[in-house]
Subunit: 195 residues, 2 copies
């Protein structure tokens, strides 16, 4: 037995990381059902049995691969005036960064109840509180729902369905168009726009 206590073998950690990376890439691209243990193993250049050895089951592997943390910044009430801009910039950063969490969830949540529940949880525990921190508590849930519908719709069209006009949008286009809408939703502004 090794003398190491807190740190396990480096080799196994590397393979474990390879499996997880392969799983995340495939889940994000093809969804839960269209990704097989054998696919993950092939991409990680190992034996399918090892995938089960390191993670106990496909469900467990998916749960690990789908861990998602939006890392939303805590907002002060004084940030209310810029919340739309802040939100859309933050999400673009998260979505187009290295994290494939949102794509994984979106690809699977429509036909996998575990993923769907995880999705509801993410928006209840991460988006909800941020919206609640500006404006009245009583309408917070509704405002968070509207914000979520726009954010998820954008991610769906841009990264999953890949609707050409939505893919073609530049980041600044998105900030300019979607930011004000999130602002309106987040603060419950009901007025009609005036050009």
């Amino acid at each position: 037995m090794k003398a190491k206590i807190a740190v396990k073998s480096t080799k196994s950690d590397r393979t474990r990381a390879q499996i997880l990376a392969a799983a995340q890439a495939l889940f994000a691209e093809h969804g839960y059902q269209n990704t097989t243990i054998r696919d993950v193993a092939a991409r990680a250049s190992i034996d399918p049995a090892m995938v089960i050895r390191y993670f106990q089951s496909k469900d467990e592997l998916f749960a690990r691969a789908a861990a998602i943390d939006l890392r939303l910044p805590a907002l002060k009430a004084s940030d209310a005036g810029r919340i739309g801009d802040t939100l859309i910039r933050h999400f673009l950063e998260v979505w187009e960064g290295s994290g494939k969490g949102m794509a994984i969830m979106l690809r699977s949540a429509t036909s996998n109840e575990f993923a769907a529940e995880k999705m509801r949880e993410v928006f209840a525990k991460q988006v909800g509180p941020v919206i609640a921190s500006v404006g009245s508590k009583s309408s917070a849930a509704r405002r968070a729902g509207l914000v979520s519908s726009q954010l998820l719709g954008l991610a769906l069209c841009r990264y999953v369905l890949k609707l050409p006009p939505v893919v073609a949008l530049s980041r600044e286009d998105i900030v300019a168009h979607v930011g004000p809408v999130l602002q309106r939703y987040a603060l419950d502004e009901m007025s009609v726009n005036r050009p």
Copy 2:
């Protein structure tokens, strides 16, 4: 042989309709992959072989079940001022009517390339032209993309993911909140809201 020429057997038409109805219900609820031929057959109270007999394959059955027509009304330029309201009311009517087309597509388009392509086609050929009929041609695709992102996001959250705050919204709530946003997107209004 029967004397009827243009009209085929009534019995076979009824079974065919039963199969299609069962398929639509199951595809809408569980998506393409989670719906098996055997499930459809069981719901239609017939033998699995009959499903293949009436439709040649599962793909063919899905294609028939996923036929979708938004039936968007042609708009006149004079309708521009009400296009947001018109759009959201029309989609609510379609979505919450008997047609399960959108739910079927949303449940499957994230992990089924055929469904995803169908989705792109629907928004290119049905939503795009309506948006193009108001405002400038050059920005029509972008405006249609933004409108689509909000509409699909709303449908996703309300009918598929079932985010509680979005499910709780009344139709009039949706019209009041989302209508103006669609208006803004459809006409490319860039101004910040003023309460």
